[in-house]
């Protein structure tokens, strides 16, 4: 979050609402993100029009890149059916981009229910772009924005306008400002990397040259805690995302699987210095506040409810690893999963009503989602290698996970209903342990 805020502040961005039929209330009824039978809305994103006396190749390139970026980002959400530009009746490079001059029949005829138009003007290193969203059936403009910024910030503009579109249609800003941390062994040892929500701009976060695992974002996105063998044993590291300052929790035994308490500079993690493997609550500086779990067996992988009042975790207390939920205030623990003999990696949904986890069945791991009543787990992945480490997008619409469906382990994304499963990125080595940022 902070990372993007800095970039956005550095833009010379002027955003004004463009005049058009005044739409003050957002149309949240366009997309109900909770519906498992979501109908994808057909949307047309034609090439952006270029405002210039004579159109240069750099104009054309920018137009193509901008409209492709916007298309890609909208497609990523799983809400839209992206219409093929080849089928369009209008020459978008010539047609007018404002409502009063658009022939909406030409768009409904190709199946579009939504239309995005763009018109930009390039002046040296700065460009001005007007972006509009239309309801083609109602022939009305839903959103209009004008951005003025440097050419290098094209992606940021597209990310912001994608956010506007998704906010208008769903009432939620979506995933466009989020990032995904994950583990990759491309350099020969497992390290943590961070990419943007759609797998673009991967950069290394750790260069420990040692086994490094289990990244966990604080809820303000400013901190990542993780486990690393940097000093030869599994210690816990708590790193500031922006300035890299780090504190280390180096107790005897294991110091693993951190999870930040929502809205607080506190985290839970599994420590075994007492001889047993239990989950402890710690300050953001790694000082133990109290022990959260008790009893026989291993307790690992805490995941907090969004209100911070409950914590899901894995325990082997009954002999096999299962997901449990601890009520922090009452101290009461309840077992959540009963199907199967190996249920681990719980991830509490941002809305708070569901928990995703990986369950082993027939020797394979798959992603399941279960309600807090523990009844009827829904299997989201099947027939494709091992599928592990589910992590919800901050808006709850998507789930990132790792899968060996193509051989080596890679990061994939699907909707929270299990549809639209696709690989997030293609980089060397194997990727595991994805964690979506707030």
């Amino acid at each position: 979050m902070a990372y993007f805020r800095i970039i956005l502040l550095s833009l010379v961005a002027v955003v004004i609402s463009l005049t058009g039929p005044a739409v003050t209330l957002a149309g949240y009824d366009y997309i109900d993100i909770n519906s498992p039978f979501l109908r994808k809305i057909p949307i047309a994103v034609p090439l952006f029009k270029i405002k210039a006396e004579s159109i240069s190749s750099s104009d054309k390139q920018l137009s193509g890149r901008g409209s492709d970026m916007l298309s890609g980002m909208l497609d990523f959400t799983g809400y839209f059916k992206m219409l093929d530009r080849e089928s369009f009746l209008e020459d978008s490079l010539k047609a007018d981009t404002a409502a009063q001059n658009i022939d909406f029949h030409n768009w409904t005829a190709v199946g579009a229910e939504l239309l995005v138009t763009g018109e930009f003007q390039l002046r040296g290193d700065v460009f001005e772009i007007e972006l509009r969203l239309f309801d083609t059936i109602k022939s009305s403009q839903l959103i209009g924005k004008k951005y003025t910024t440097g050419v290098n910030d094209l992606r940021d503009v597209m990310r912001r306008f994608s956010g506007e579109i998704v906010y208008y249609l769903t009432g939620n800003r979506g995933v466009f400002e989020s990032r995904i941390a994950f583990v990759s062994n491309g350099t020969g040892s497992k390290e943590i990397y961070i990419c943007e929500f759609d797998g673009i701009n991967t950069r290394p976060f750790t260069r420990n040259k040692a086994i490094t695992l289990f990244p966990a974002w604080s809820s303000d996105g400013k901190w990542i805690a993780y486990t690393s063998y940097l000093k030869g044993k599994p210690d816990l590291y708590i790193s500031n995302v922006n300035d890299g300052s780090t504190s280390v929790v180096s107790n005897k035994g294991i110091n693993i699987t951190p999870a930040w308490v929502p809205g607080k500079f506190e985290l839970a993690a599994t420590l075994s210095y007492s001889g047993d493997q239990h989950i402890y609550l710690m300050t953001g500086n790694g000082k133990v506040i109290k022990k959260l779990t008790n009893g026989w067996g291993s307790d690992v992988s805490p995941s907090w409810s969004p209100d911070g009042k409950k914590m899901a975790f894995v325990s082997s207390r009954t002999g096999t690893p299962q997901v449990y939920v601890l009520n922090i205030e009452s101290g009461h623990t309840e077992r959540l999963t009963f199907t199967g003999r190996y249920n681990t990696q719980p991830s509490w949904s941002p809305k708070g009503d569901k928990i995703a986890y990986s369950g082993m069945n027939g020797g394979r791991h798959n992603i399941y989602v279960i309600g807090l009543d523990g009844k009827d787990p829904v299997q989201l992945t099947r027939n494709g290698g091992d599928n592990e480490s589910p992590s919800w997008s901050p808006d709850g619409s998507l789930i990132a996970f790792s899968s060996t469906r193509e051989g080596p382990s890679r990061i994939y994304v699907m909707t929270s209903h299990g549809t639209d499963q696709r690989r997030l990125l293609a980089i060397s080595g194997e990727q595991t342990n994805p964690k979506w940022s707030p």
Binding site: I254, T270, Q277, V300, T320
Partner: protein, 194 residues
Amino acid sequence: MKNRTWIMLALLLSVTVLLFASCSKQTVKADLQDVKDQAKQEPKQAAAASAPAPAPAPVVMKAPEPVGPSAEELAAKAKAAALKTLANEDVFFDFDSAVLSDAAQEVLKNKSAILGKYSGVSVTIEGHCDERGTNEYNLALGERRAESAKKFLVSLGVNASRLKTISYGEEKPVDAGHDEAAWSKNRRAHFAAD
């Protein structure tokens, strides 16, 4: 008369033996010294010198060779072999289990005997898992495997201060394969002398 002859003979013999003995000691020393010097200068000549054929020394001189340094060498060899056994023989586990099978206990008893004999040796017990579980839980399981091996050794009388444990979970498989043959090798407690 007969008795005196016997006494004389006996005396003569013992003097001869003494002479030979002192003489051979010196010669052996000189001979060993010689070999060492040669070894320093020219390894090939040293090899030749230690070969039996060209040695000009009488047969008697060879007798004292196995004394002193050789015994130490033997002991060192035996210790090295014991430590190798300690490191090479892994303790194996069932899937999702840190319970010691009969076979695992036998391996550990052998290790306990070695550790009992070589009281100066400390070890790190590494707990490992196969790739099938998830890596968070496996890191915990690896620690339980290392700890159960440690507990068993302590119960056999090995001092706990000589036994460190570390878990690598599923991060360091000994066999990179993706079948039971590989997995069964990877579910292990491995010993490394410190």
